[in-house]
């Protein structure tokens, strides 16, 4: 691609000292840079009009056992071309400090705090160095992703209290909510500052369900970690296991047979469908409009029962494996899916017109919880939430995986950024998923659904993989260790980037609208906390 070349040359001309690495992966440029130059180059990538780089992922690797260094990797997606550019740097020997890019690129804020917590490396110049993943009662010096930190020794306890940002003044109240909430929801803490009704500030205090997932990956053989990936965020079982399997497949240079890839797309759309159906109902329910909720949760249940009949798992567990999928569907089963989808499309369309004609519902949703395009971009927000705020991005179209290179995905996006826009994105995507499922049924080729995986992965090699799950972009970076072990596995659920943005979407709204706004984001706590 000419565009690619020009972006690479531009970077090299602008910064002669950077070194380009060879990469086997297409659509991917890799540059090695000195750590002091990092903020400048990152900023260039982010702000230069022709480049428009969105920080997609930032991860560290403790490479002390092999090379006595820590590695830092910054992955950018260039928005016009969707090309990936990776900047890497190394901290030599006893160096524990790296320059923060957060002052230039806001989206780096949680990543850098995460790296500090998990590796003990210090992002110099970061405006907020409070703990993020480590709650204050974790003992000093506990950085779990350091290689010399034992994975299986439960953490001790020390005294400590989280310091929230305070707003002071006459009539300002703080309202703490959580970690345990009133419904059947995961734990998280929200601290509101209000003066009268409107919210002046919301601060999140999450990571209550931190289970040490990334460290647990390092204890597993490459081929055996799929069940763990399925349990990163249960509602996205298939999306996560797919992203993990794809990464291992590219490490092992495996080509999944076409039928296997079509089935993967099919299952991914079924997962999107039942989650989106549930969300549309739940958003209505949070305005106390119970009727759509009843219908939507019934339809969601129908899809989950369909999943169960077809695969033996309501969540599509145990389906993905390295090299393809574990089970094939017969023509009769595919016809059963199509028939169910046809019935449901009719069913859902009727419900949609009921919803659209309810003025008081629309009134609650409109202009509630607005996330502007600018704020969304600054946070590098992904998925449904991004598309509702005007960010036209969808990996199924932009970086096709599974069978999406042969299917045309219509991507919708709205510009209002309010609860209604987030609901409409979901509604449109429900129809699009149904259409895709029908198309898959018509086009699915015959053949095997998986390849046997024989070639071994080289120690130290790594691969990236991206999947557009129902919430948004799921990223995995898997680095192989000796003898088919995992040296490092970086997991990035879309929730991790979208959570901070909610703090901005609620400002000026009233607390009673918070559950509604939160529902319209519907982010995972488990996937965020890891």
């Amino acid at each position: 691609m000419a565009e690619t070349k020009s972006c690479d040359t531009e970077l090299k001309t602008a910064f002669p000292s950077i070194v380009q690495r060879d990469t086997t992966q297409r659509e991917f440029s890799h540059f090695f840079v000195a750590k002091d130059l990092l903020p400048t180059i990152a900023r260039h990538l982010h702000t230069q009009p022709g480049l428009h780089g969105r920080l997609a992922l930032l991860w560290a690797v403790d490479n002390r056992p092999a090379r006595n260094t820590y590695e830092l990797h910054y992955l950018f997606t260039l928005e016009p071309s969707h090309r990936w550019v990776l900047l890497s740097t190394e901290l030599a020997k006893d160096d524990r400090v790296f320059p923060s890019i957060t002052p230039h690129i806001h989206a780096a804020q949680w990543y850098e705090r995460e790296i500090r917590d998990m590796f003990g490396l210090i992002p110099q110049g970061h405006p907020d160095l409070r703990r993020l993943v480590r709650h204050e009662h974790w003992p000093q010096g506990a950085h779990p992703l350091k290689k010399d930190f034992p994975w299986d020794r439960a953490l001790g306890r020390q005294q400590g209290e989280h310091r929230f940002h305070r707003i002071e003044g006459e009539g300002v109240f703080e309202v703490p909510v959580g970690p345990i909430h009133a419904g059947i929801i995961e734990p998280g803490h929200f601290r509101f500052s209000v003066a009268g009704e409107p919210i002046m500030q919301l601060e999140l205090h999450h990571f209550w369900t931190h289970r040490g997932v990334e460290k647990l990956f390092e204890q597993q053989p490459l081929a055996a970690a799929v069940p763990l990936a399925e349990r990163v965020s249960g509602d996205t079982t298939f999306g996560h296991s797919l992203a993990y399997c794809q990464a291992v497949e590219s490490l092992r240079h495996l080509d999944v047979p076409r039928r296997g890839r079509y089935l993967r797309s099919l299952f991914l759309e079924l997962e999107r469908l039942h989650n989106h159906l549930g969300d549309v109902g739940a958003i209505c329910n949070d305005t106390a409009y119970a009727l759509p909720h009843a219908h939507c949760s019934r339809m969601k249940e129908q899809i989950m029962q369909l999943n169960d009949r077809l695969t033996g798992s309501r969540f599509l567990r145990g389906l993905n494996r390295v090299g393809g999928v574990a089970l094939d569907l017969t023509a009769a089963q595919l016809a059963e899916i199509a028939a169910e989808i046809d019935r449901m499309e009719q069913d859902f369309s009727e419900l949609e017109s009921i919803i659209a004609h309810n003025a008081s519902l629309i009134d609650r949703l409109e202009a509630t919880g607005v996330l502007t395009e600018r704020t969304a971009w600054d946070h590098a927000v992904v998925g449904v939430v991004g598309r509702a705020s005007g960010l036209d991005q969808d990996l199924r179209r932009d970086r096709p995986f599974a069978a999406y290179d042969e299917l045309s995905v219509k991507v919708v996006h709205y510009r209002y950024g309010d609860v209604r826009a987030r609901m409409r994105v979901r509604m449109d995507e429900i129809h699009e998923s149904m259409r895709l499922i029908r198309e898959i049924r018509l086009r699915i080729p015959q053949g095997p659904v998986a390849v046997e995986s024989s070639p071994r992965a080289q120690a130290g090699e790594w691969a990236l993989s991206a999947v557009e799950g129902w919430r948004g972009e799921i990223l995995y970076m898997v680095m192989a260790g000796d003898n088919e072990t995992i040296q490092r596995c970086k997991v990035r659920d879309p929730s991790f980037v979208n959570w901070p943005a909610i703090q901005w979407a609620v400002i000026g709204n009233i607390i009673p609208d918070f559950p509604l706004i939160n529902k319209s984001f519907n982010l995972s706590y488990a996937g965020n906390d890891l």
């Binding site: 709650h135 009662h137 974790w138 779990p144 930190f149 034992p150 994975w151 299986d152 020794r153 439960a154 953490l155 970690p179 345990i180 009133a182 419904g183 059947i184 929801i185 995961e186 734990p187 990571f207 209550w208 369900t209 931190h210 289970r211 040490g212 997932v213 460290k215 647990l216 069940p227 763990l228 349990r231 990163v232 965020s233 249960g234 509602d235 079982t237 009727l291 009843a294 219908h295 949760s297 019934r298 969601k300 249940e301 989950m304 029962q305 169960d308 309501r314 969540f315 567990r317 069913d347 009727e350 419900l351 017109s353 009921i354 004609h357 995972s524 706590y525 488990a526």
Partner: protein
């Protein structure tokens, strides 16, 4: 209005349109039965997630949909532990949630039942041994009923909960 009525008539009764429970939880201990008899067949449940992957939550939520409609058996979800007869706990107990779990237990009035839902709550499941996990639920609070599965299907959960309501 007409649209809504038409929709309801067309949909019919969804309740009960689900496969039967297949897997049964462990038989109820006599002590658990004795405790449960105080609730007179109504069961107010407070759900507590102590580090689950959230699939167990999805299935608990499914109990409230029209298909399972647990309310018809007198099972309802309470918004506060102070209103609860039973705690349903999901997930391994993470280091960060251990305190909160004990607090919730203390705030639930006696007599109370503790139900460990899912493999994680029973033996930490996929997260066993991790530095961030303190152990299964019964390391922290006494557990009366265990519902295995990863996650257990809603029909199985419903069966286990209605078993609790049976007279011994």
């Amino acid at each position: 209005m007409f649209r809504i009525l038409k929709k309801s008539l067309k949909t019919g009764v969804a309740t009960g349109r689900h496969p039967q429970a297949t897997q049964s939880s462990e038989p109820l201990t006599p002590e658990a039965h004795k405790k449960a008899s105080a609730f007179n067949r109504s069961l107010a449940i407070r759900e507590v997630d102590t580090g689950s992957c959230n699939a167990c939550e999805v299935e608990m939520n499914a109990l409230t949909n029209p298909v399972y409609d647990a309310e018809r058996f007198g099972i309802h979800i309470a918004a506060s532990p102070r209103h609860a007869d039973a705690l349903v706990v999901t997930g391994p107990v993470t280091v960060n949630m251990a305190r909160a779990l004990k607090d919730v237990y203390k705030q639930t009035p006696d007599p109370k039942l503790v139900i460990a839902l899912g493999d994680c709550a029973i033996d930490c499941g996929a997260f066993k041994g991790s530095y961030a996990v303190t152990g299964p639920v019964d390391r922290h609070i006494p557990v009366d009923v265990r519902i295995p599965g990863c996650p257990p299907r809603p029909a199985d959960i419903l069966k286990a909960l209605t078993d609790i309501q049976e007279r011994p």
